[in-house]
């Protein structure tokens, strides 16, 4: 796509330089705090602050030996997995009628379905808490937290998938229909592949949000801990660099996953090509 403009003004070079410097500053702004967080995970100062008193990897050793962290990590991933599944299914399903049906109050429905991400998380947490415990007499558990988080993450999936459906060329579907495809086949072979990136993006978004969700979980999870809750209680009573080490490890893991997401398709294609030529 032609995005590059030819340089027309002599000032364009200056402009480019200024904007590039700005972008560099933005990345500095974004990554200095993260850099510090990582740096303190290798600092022997046990308060996780300045000054740097020496290099150590002992906090990493502690992370691996700490069963509370293990517990919290397992719970976090389990919650995130279910939240992702629920919100992906519910959000994707709702995106279709939202975009395609002859809905009269479309924008009202849209506002309604966006509400959960707009109102304070505190309110979602507290209202579900009193509702589940007083009306259903349920005990708080991992499941109540999953439900609460899903309420919060589903609208994101919905919005992302709806955006993709809106910019969606329906002539393809019409063509499939003309060629005799039924509704299911149309969905399976035309619509789904085309919206898959958006569904995947929505799922990824839900997963990411769930991993770091704090306030709803705080009110709803009962006896278990997720990582953000664990970190909060640690921070509350004296943060140790162990938490920084944990965060660094998680960051490393996500960078690795992203890199994989970028490299894997190329690798698969190469492998497939290699197979074909043989």
């Amino acid at each position: 796509m032609p995005r590059e403009l030819e340089v027309v003004s002599p000032r364009a070079g200056l402009m480019r330089f200024a904007l590039s410097s700005w972008a560099a500053l933005v990345y500095l702004f974004l990554f200095v705090p993260i850099g510090l967080l990582v740096a303190f995970s290798f600092n022997s100062n046990k308060y996780g602050t300045f000054p740097f008193t020496g290099w150590t990897t002992k906090w990493y050793g502690q992370v691996f030996g700490d069963y509370q962290i293990k517990d919290a990590l397992t719970t976090t991933l389990r919650v995130a997995l279910f939240v992702t599944i629920i919100s992906t299914i519910v959000g994707t399903a709702a995106a279709f009628p939202l975009v395609r049906s002859k809905l009269r109050f479309r924008s009202a429905v849209r506002v309604g379905m966006t509400l959960p991400i707009m109102i304070p998380g505190l309110l979602i947490g507290v209202s579900l808490l009193v509702f589940l415990t007083n009306v259903f007499h349920l005990q708080l558990s991992v499941w109540t937290a999953i439900v609460g988080q899903s309420v919060y993450t589903t609208p994101f999936v919905l919005l992302i998938v709806a955006a993709r459906l809106q910019g969606f060329d329906q002539s393809l579907e019409r063509a499939a229909s003309d060629l005799g495809a039924n509704t299911f086949n149309r969905l399976r072979y035309v619509v789904l592949p085309l919206i898959a990136p958006a569904v995947f993006a929505g799922a990824l978004f839900a997963f990411t949000l769930s991993l770091d969700e704090f306030i709803i979980t705080l009110f709803l999870i009962g006896g278990s801990n997720t990582l953000p809750l664990y970190i909060y209680t640690q921070v509350k009573f004296g943060i140790t660099p162990e938490v920084n080490a944990l965060a660094t490890l998680l960051l490393g893991a996500s960078v690795l996953l992203i890199a994989l997401a970028f490299l894997l398709p190329t690798a698969v294609r190469r492998a497939r090509l290699a197979l074909r030529t043989r």
Partner: protein, 306 residues
Amino acid sequence: MANAEVTPSVPDPPGGRKTARGLSLGRLGQYGGFLPAIVLFGLFFAAPLGLIVAYSFWQVVDYNVVHDWTLDNYRYFFSVSTYAKTFWATIWVSVAATALAIGIAFPFAYWLVRYIPKRLQKVFLILVILPFWTSYLLRVYAWLNILGPEGAINRFLHWIHLTSQPVSFFLYDRPAVILVLAYLYFPFAALTLYASLERFDWDQFKAAMDLGATPFTAVRKILLPQIRPGITTSVIFVFIPILGEYLTPQLVGGAKGVMIGNLIANFFVGAQYTRGAAAALLITALIVVLLIVFRRSLEVRDAYAP
């Protein structure tokens, strides 16, 4: 990538929405997709919210909610000036943080779209989202280590001999809250602005410059009017969530940086659910009004596709 391929070649009118006609998924299927959402949102969002509305008209006696109907909770918030004042302070902190986030994000998104090859844009975008993958709390704590009296800035100032004593000016007041909130919400601003800049038809821009417009005039007269919906979207996705923030003001704001969320949290932590419910609902009412006014901007552009 894929997003560009399926986008119709005719550009959407700004803010316009294509109503889908023609293919329905069968009469029954037309609204069937809403069913799971109705169960989830109805049972676990609307109904609890309804109960909370009832709570806001009840009372707490000895840590138990008593079903005595009263307007007391609401009357209280309007009779004590602290809440109105804190509320206004919250609004202007949110406005300032939103302006800062968008002010930082706009030139950045512009740079990304104009000067970076399409293929690499995703990589740069992912770098923006990366901080999201670390804990919110730890990111805020990192700022304590930057702004604090023993923090990075003070160390730097001392090192270049600009100051001899640590300056505590940076922390525990509203400026610190605004800065850290802008930091936390920057990715939202950057993503939404990128999405709308990415769809902008740069040929128009080029034409304007060919006709002698300076880049700034071209930005102001051609670009800004067309991407206004994108800017509104990003305002919504930054401003509204900030209204309910309470952890950041508590951690970096000090006694002078309190926002309305902190006062509400005090009620809930002290088990005063009915008062807390009324306060939270007042905020929610404002948010709903804002959402209705800007409802068109809730249509997120397809920017999140990897």
